[in-house]
C-alpha cells in the first residue's frame, strides 16, 4: 500500500528505508515518523518522549496522534492475520523478497490457496 499510495500520488518513496533506517524514506517527516514508530515498538519511555516531541514539533499534533493511531492499528492487524493464518498473497511475497524480507522457512507463513479444508 505504501508503494501504491506513492505511485498514485506521484510521490517518491524509498521502500528499502522500511528495513534500513540509514536510508531516507523520501516521505514528508519520514525520519521523524520512523523514529517515533521505533520508540513505540521498543517501549522505551525516554526515547518515546523525545520522538513524540520531535514529531509533534515538526508535523503537528494531529500528525503525531495519527501516527500513534496507525501504529496501534497495525499492532492489531499484524496479530490478527498472524494468529488466524491469513495467507500471504503472491504480490506481498514478491515485495518482501525484493526487500530481502522473505523469511519463509523460518516461520510458518501460510501460502495463499483456495483450498477448502472443511
Amino acid at each position: 500500500m505504501l508503494r501504491a499510495s506513492a505511485t498514485h500520488t506521484g510521490r517518491a518513496v524509498d521502500l528499502f528505508a522500511i528495513a534500513d533506517r540509514r536510508r531516507d524514506p523520501l516521505v514528508d517527516h519520514g525520519h521523524a515518523l520512523m523514529r517515533f514508530v521505533d520508540a513505540v515498538m521498543a517501549a522505551d519511555p525516554g526515547e518515546l518522549d523525545d520522538a513524540r516531541t520531535t514529531l509533534e514539533a515538526a508535523a503537528g499534533r494531529d500528525a503525531m496522534v495519527r501516527a500513534a493511531a496507525v501504529a496501534a492499528n497495525f499492532q492489531m492487524m499484524n496479530r490478527l492475520v498472524d494468529a488466524t493464518g491469513v495467507p500471504i498473497g503472491a504480490s506481498m511475497r514478491s515485495i518482501a523478497a525484493d526487500l530481502g524480507l522473505d523469511r519463509t522457512g523460518e516461520t510458518a507463513v501460510p501460502h495463499d490457496t483456495d483450498e477448502d479444508t472443511t
Partner: protein, 201 residues
C-alpha cells in the same frame, strides 16, 4: 495540560467504548474471561506455556504472534478451546494490544482493566462460517477483513477500531487520503510496524 486535537477526541471516544465493551459478555466468552485475557496480554512474556490453553493462546497472540503456526492452533483446540472461541480470543487480545499501544504512544498510562459485566455469552456465531485456507472458520475467503467473521461481534468491533485508528476498509481504496497524515505517511508507519512485528502485512 495537554490540549487534545479533534483527531484525538474522535479516537478517544471509540477507544473508551471499545475498552468498556471488552468487559461485557461476548459471543463465546463471559465478561470475566475476556477481562482475564486482557490481563494475560499485559503480563510480561516469559515464553512459557500457560496451563489454561485460552490464556496460552492470548499470551502468544500478544507477544509472539508471528510464530504462531497451524499446529499451535490445533493444540489449543485439542486442549478444549473451540476454533470459534479462539477467534474471540484473537479479537480481544489484538484489540487490547492496539489500545495499549495507542495510549503508550501518547505517553499515557495503561487503562485500568474494566470490571467484568455479568451475563452469559450470546452464542451468536456466524452459522455459515467454515474453514477454508486459514486456521479459523470464516464467512467467505479468509483475509484481514474476514478473519474474525465467524464471530460477528468481534469482527464488528475490529472494523470499528480499524476505522477510528486508520481508515475504513472501504476508505482504503483512497490512496490520496489525508487524516492528520497523508496516506503515504500512514503506509510508512504501517510498513515499519509490520516489519518490527515480523509480519508480512
Amino acid at each position: 495540560m495537554t490540549t487534545h486535537s479533534i483527531v484525538e477526541r474522535d479516537i478517544d471516544a471509540v477507544l473508551a467504548d471499545q475498552w468498556s465493551g471488552l468487559a461485557g459478555p461476548g459471543t463465546w466468552l463471559r465478561g470475566d474471561e475476556r477481562v482475564a485475557i486482557a490481563g494475560v496480554c499485559r503480563e510480561p512474556d516469559r515464553r512459557s506455556v500457560l496451563a489454561d490453553p485460552m490464556h496460552d493462546a492470548a499470551r502468544c497472540i500478544a507477544h509472539d504472534a508471528a510464530r504462531i503456526a497451524a499446529t499451535d492452533v490445533d493444540w489449543w483446540v485439542s486442549d478444549g478451546v473451540t476454533r470459534e472461541t479462539y477467534v474471540e480470543v484473537v479479537g480481544v487480545a489484538s484489540r487490547v494490544m492496539a489500545i495499549d499501544s495507542f495510549d503508550r504512544s501518547l505517553g499515557q498510562p495503561p487503562r485500568a482493566l474494566p470490571a467484568p459485566v455479568p451475563g452469559d455469552p450470546s452464542g451468536l456465531g456466524a452459522h455459515d462460517a467454515r474453514r477454508r485456507s486459514g486456521w479459523v472458520p470464516t464467512v467467505g475467503a479468509i483475509g484481514p477483513p474476514t478473519a474474525l467473521s465467524a464471530v460477528p461481534a468481534e469482527a464488528s468491533a475490529q472494523r470499528q477500531l480499524h476505522t477510528a485508528l486508520y481508515l475504513s476498509y472501504e476508505g482504503m481504496s483512497d490512496l490520496d487520503a489525508h487524516r492528520g497524515l497523508h496516506r503515504t505517511q500512514m503506509e510508512l508507519v504501517a510498513a515499519r510496524v509490520s516489519l518490527l512485528n515480523d509480519c508480512f502485512f
